[in-house]
């Protein structure tokens, strides 16, 4: 369980809070997509959850630990994949030997499987890899640690197209009911069909916090050459027609959630009356 209560954080020298009076609760067993515009505080939130920053106000609690204490037991239960990774120029084998003893749930089998997904050999030297390959190797290690909390900041940045698809498969493979995975990203299309919960935030707090199932129940998303006449709450012209989002009526079939449409709808229509309906 991850819980943030009235958390604020202000970077030294900044005139405004990066996160102000922010509250959120996340139970385990979810893959959460954390979405927000640039500067909305997504990375700051991940850093607060992982104990890399100390909140200026409020409480953060992760599985009963205060992250700022940086307790080793807490650190062995959480893994952060930052946007830019610091990976040493050593063999993957040495890297795994050096860091895996700190993670009690680390599984070599999972690592091999994830590496296979990413088309990487277990006997690679990290110094000879491209940036994207380094990220894949790091992601494979992160997934293989099986920490109850896995935080990823823009994990698909730098991954090639097959890599993004393999990333989704690898995440799903290592997911279980005891695990919480939070993925912060701008590349919403990379997370298609991966998330089961979406949180959209800005500096003032959470703008949307819903499960994918609930979103599918409330909205339909589609592409059409001509906009439907009724119920459209958001639309955008695209090549050959429109992408749209509308309120779902009980007789309509559920559709996949178009995260980009949802995000744009939330950011252009505040407050979110649709959810209060």
């Amino acid at each position: 369980m991850i819980s943030l209560k009235n958390v604020s954080y202000r970077y030294t020298g900044s005139k405004r809070n990066s996160i102000a009076d922010f509250s959120m609760e996340l139970s385990s067993g979810k893959i959460v997509g954390l979405l927000g515009a640039n500067g909305a505080g997504k990375s700051t939130l991940l850093y607060l959850i992982s104990g890399l920053l100390r909140p200026t106000a409020g409480d953060v609690n992760v599985n009963g630990y205060n992250p700022w204490d940086r307790n080793p037991a807490f650190l062995s239960q959480i893994f952060l994949v930052p946007e830019e990774i610091d990976i040493p120029s050593i063999s993957l084998e040495s890297f795994v030997k050096a860091y895996s003893p700190f993670y009690p749930n680390f599984s070599e089998e999972s690592l091999k499987e994830a590496l296979f997904h990413f088309n990487l050999s277990p006997d690679i030297h990290l110094g000879s890899l491209s940036m994207g390959q380094k990220k894949k190797a790091f992601l494979a290690f992160a997934l293989a640690c099986h920490t109850p909390v896995l935080l990823m900041d823009e994990p698909t940045n730098g991954l090639d197209i097959p890599g993004k698809s393999e990333f989704r498969k690898a995440v799903v493979k290592t997911m279980n009911d005891e695990r919480t995975i939070i993925i912060s990203t701008h590349q919403v299309r990379d997370l298609d069909q991966l998330l089961d919960h979406v949180t959209i935030m800005d500096n003032n707090g959470i703008q949307l916090d819903e499960s994918i199932a609930a979103l599918q129940e409330k909205f339909t998303f589609g592409l059409a050459p001509v906009l439907p006449e009724t119920g459209v709450i958001w639309s955008e012209p695209i090549m050959g027609g429109y992408a749209y989002m509308k309120m779902r009526t009980p007789d309509q079939q559920e559709t996949e959630v178009n995260l980009e449409a949802l995000f744009n709808y939330i950011y252009t229509r505040k407050p979110i009356n649709a959810f209060q309906a």
Binding site: R54, R70, L75, S76, F102, Y103
Partner: protein, 288 residues
């Protein structure tokens, strides 16, 4: 692979895993550092040996001295070049300690490094002790090894130094030699401690920044003392006071010096620990 599950503030098992991971990940850097440290002393030893060799060879060529005078003069030159090596080595040693001190918290020199360092599942005290152990303890030993390695080269090349046991015994029999030795050691270690504190405050370009700050503090302090002396100090009474410190009371002064130096060393490491403990990934000079 063995797993570490202990949740103690300091676990030897976790510390040794941390040490192993540090050596495995930064092996290349440590090897380079060791080669550089020993290489500097070796280079100095070769340079001095070359000059000493030329000088002694020149002496033999002139053949103006008789046998006994010749051997005495050669011995004088050997001692003189040996002393030169030790004097320059001592200076390099102090500079080396300050450089090692400024590298102590190099694992915090960028946001990426801070993230990977803080997120390792070990306690803060274990991570801090690791830095203290590698850069302060092992670094000091490495530099001492470098000095002796260079001395060995000098000894082989021109018989630099014949330690006189009597001189060593005399030194240890000297009054207050214990205080003097401890003071010297503490003063030398202070250069490491100050630069380690500087490294915790400014992990990037730490040596230069700390050096500038130290210069400013020293000049400001000297200026302040000069003004104080010009205004307030009654020199005559100060001399009288110092005169009254007869031989039996000198130890009090030396004890004060030792206490000040020890306190400064401890204070530097305590402040460095405080800074280390409170490091956030967004590093600002006065971040609380």
């Amino acid at each position: 692979m063995e797993k570490i599950e202990s949740n103690k503030a300091f676990s030897m098992e976790r510390f040794s895993a941390l040490l192993k991971s540090e050596l495995s990940v930064n092996r290349g850097n440590y090897i380079k550092l060791a080669i550089a440290a020993i290489g500097v002393f070796a280079a100095l030893a070769f340079l001095i040996s070359f000059n000493a060799g030329m000088s002694i060879h020149g002496l033999k060529e002139t053949a103006e001295l008789t046998g006994r005078d010749m051997s005495k003069t050669i011995m004088d030159r050997q001692t003189s070049y040996g002393t030169m090596y030790l004097a320059i080595s001592a200076w390099i040693f102090v500079i080396g300690l300050s450089v090692l001190g400024s590298l102590t918290f190099s694992n915090f020199s960028s946001k990426k490094k801070r993230i990977s360092s803080i997120m390792i599942p070990a306690s803060q005290i274990e991570k801090f002790t690791l830095r203290l152990f590698t850069y302060f303890v092992c670094g000091t030993l490495l530099l001492l090894l470098g000095i002796f390695f260079g001395l060995g080269i000098c000894q082989i090349a021109f018989g630099a130094w014949s330690p006189s046991i009597d001189a060593i015994i005399d030194f240890f029999n000297m009054d207050y030699s214990g205080y003097i030795i401890v003071s010297i050691i503490l003063a030398v270690l202070l250069s490491d401690s100050i630069y380690a504190l500087g490294s915790s405050l400014w992990p990037k370009l730490s040596w230069i920044k700390t050096w500038v700050v130290m210069m400013v503090i020293q000049w400001a302090g000297a200026f302040f003392l000069m003004i104080l002396a010009a205004i307030h100090i009654n020199w005559e009474s100060l001399f009288v006071f110092l005169d009254n410190f007869n031989k039996d009371n000198v130890w009090i002064l030396l004890l004060i010096v030792v206490a000040i130096l020890a306190s400064l060393n401890i204070a530097c490491w305590c402040l460095a620990w405080r800074r280390f403990r409170n490091t956030q990934i967004i590093q600002r000079f006065m971040t609380k």
